[in-house]
């Protein structure tokens, strides 16, 4: 996707933010992100143990998780897009229940 939004200029960003070493952003977030990654891994193990490996939501999660280590930027955006309904036309009737977080073709 090509964005037309002009990025905030580097000069303006520097005025808005005190400089900090790159490791500081890792220090701030690493342990919390590590815990969330382990939760995802344990969740995928758990659904397998319970026989729900082929649930479309679990398949979508495993597929989206591949973006984590492909070395490309904007992983969050790409994971959200992977989990989204890609169709364009409004639905004639509302699907049963609430949105579940992953999309499957033809699911009612």
């Amino acid at each position: 996707m090509v964005s037309k939004t002009p990025p905030t200029s580097k000069a303006r960003r520097l005025r808005q933010r005190a400089p900090m070493p790159p490791t500081a952003i890792v220090d701030q977030g690493f342990v919390a992100a590590r815990a969330m990654l382990l939760d995802v891994a344990a969740f995928l193990d758990r659904v397998e143990r319970y026989g729900a490996k082929s649930d479309f939501r679990c398949e979508a999660m495993r597929s989206a998780a591949k973006f984590l280590s492909d070395g490309k930027p904007e992983r969050a955006r790409r994971i959200l897009e992977r989990l989204s309904d890609p169709t364009r036309a409004p639905l004639a009737v509302a699907p049963r229940g609430a949105a579940c977080g992953a999309w499957k073709k033809g699911r009612k």
Binding site: M1, S3, R13, R17, P19, A76, P90, L91, A92, A99
Partner: protein, 272 residues
């Protein structure tokens, strides 16, 4: 620190939450009409709710010195019944002249159905007729991308709509750029489990700039945190952002958008 909570469903919150918000620096709270957790069965049910938003809730907030504003509409979750929806849309003008009403909202889509689109269009036409600001809810989870595209196309089809007077709320990484690129304001909602976290919200500000964006907690009867906005200031400070940056995002940005309605006033806060 000062901040505005531009999207909070205070009818679902306790008075303790009002006290905590004011203590954290909240200068005003704005409450869009939303779904009660069950479908209302009659127009009178909506009329009572709109009275609560325009009379009772401002009085409750005033006990804590907090200005309370509201937005009126039939929310998209109750738009499937078009007969009821049409009758509810017909009573909305009764409330638009109330002193705390800022506009039409939160309208939008829920499951992206044709009936929801119809009710959305009725609200947009009402907003155009009455020169109202618009606050738009975008759908949850897997429906958000499609719903945001539909909403943007519907709004852009109306020549009379000025995107600078419309905020598209609950954006995430896959929808924020298309909203900003088409000239609309974008709202980032801070939820503990869905929508955005404080670190992701600050990431989006770094990627898209801080103009035409507000942050909100959308606190309601579900899993939510009425102090999510001031807690995001902490995330900004941990990354070294200045007090001016925090004030711009948490206070001056929402004030800029909301002040397009002359009823929005913040006594005690100067124009800087």
């Amino acid at each position: 620190m000062r901040y505005i909570e531009p999207h909070g469903h205070m009818v679902s919150r306790t008075t303790d939450d009002y006290r905590a918000m004011v203590t954290a620096g909240c200068a005003a709270v704005c409450e869009p009409a939303f779904w009660a957790g069950y479908d209302r069965s009659s127009v009178d049910g909506f009329r009572d709710y709109f009275r609560q938003l325009t009379r009772f809730e401002p009085a409750r907030a005033a006990k804590y010195g907090l200005p309370h504003y509201s937005w009126i509409c039939l929310n998209p979750k109750e738009a499937e019944d078009l007969v009821l929806a049409r009758d509810v849309v017909a009573i909305i003008p009764e409330f638009l002249s109330e002193p705390n009403v800022l506009g039409i909202g939160e309208i939008g889509l829920n499951r992206n159905t044709r009936n929801e689109v119809t009710a959305f269009e009725w609200h947009v036409e009402l907003a155009i007729r009455h020169s109202q600001l618009i606050l738009v809810h975008t759908p949850h989870l897997e429906d958000k991308l499609k719903g945001t595209r539909l909403i943007l196309d519907l709004l852009c089809a109306h020549r009379e709509i000025d995107p600078a007077r419309v905020i598209i709320d609950h954006v995430e990484e896959h929808t924020i750029r298309q909203v900003l690129d088409r000239g609309f304001w974008a709202g980032i909602t801070l939820y503990p489990e869905s929508k955005s976290s404080p670190p992701r919200a600050v990431d989006m500000l770094e990627l898209c700039g801080r103009d035409r964006i507000w942050l909100n907690s959308a606190c309601d009867w579900g899993v939510s945190d009425p102090l999510a906005v001031p807690k995001t200031a902490l995330e900004m400070r941990r990354r070294g952002y200045t007090d001016d940056f925090v004030d711009a995002v948490l206070f001056r940005n929402p004030r800029q958008f909301l002040s397009q309605c002359p009823k929005f006033q913040l006594p005690g806060h100067d124009a800087t």
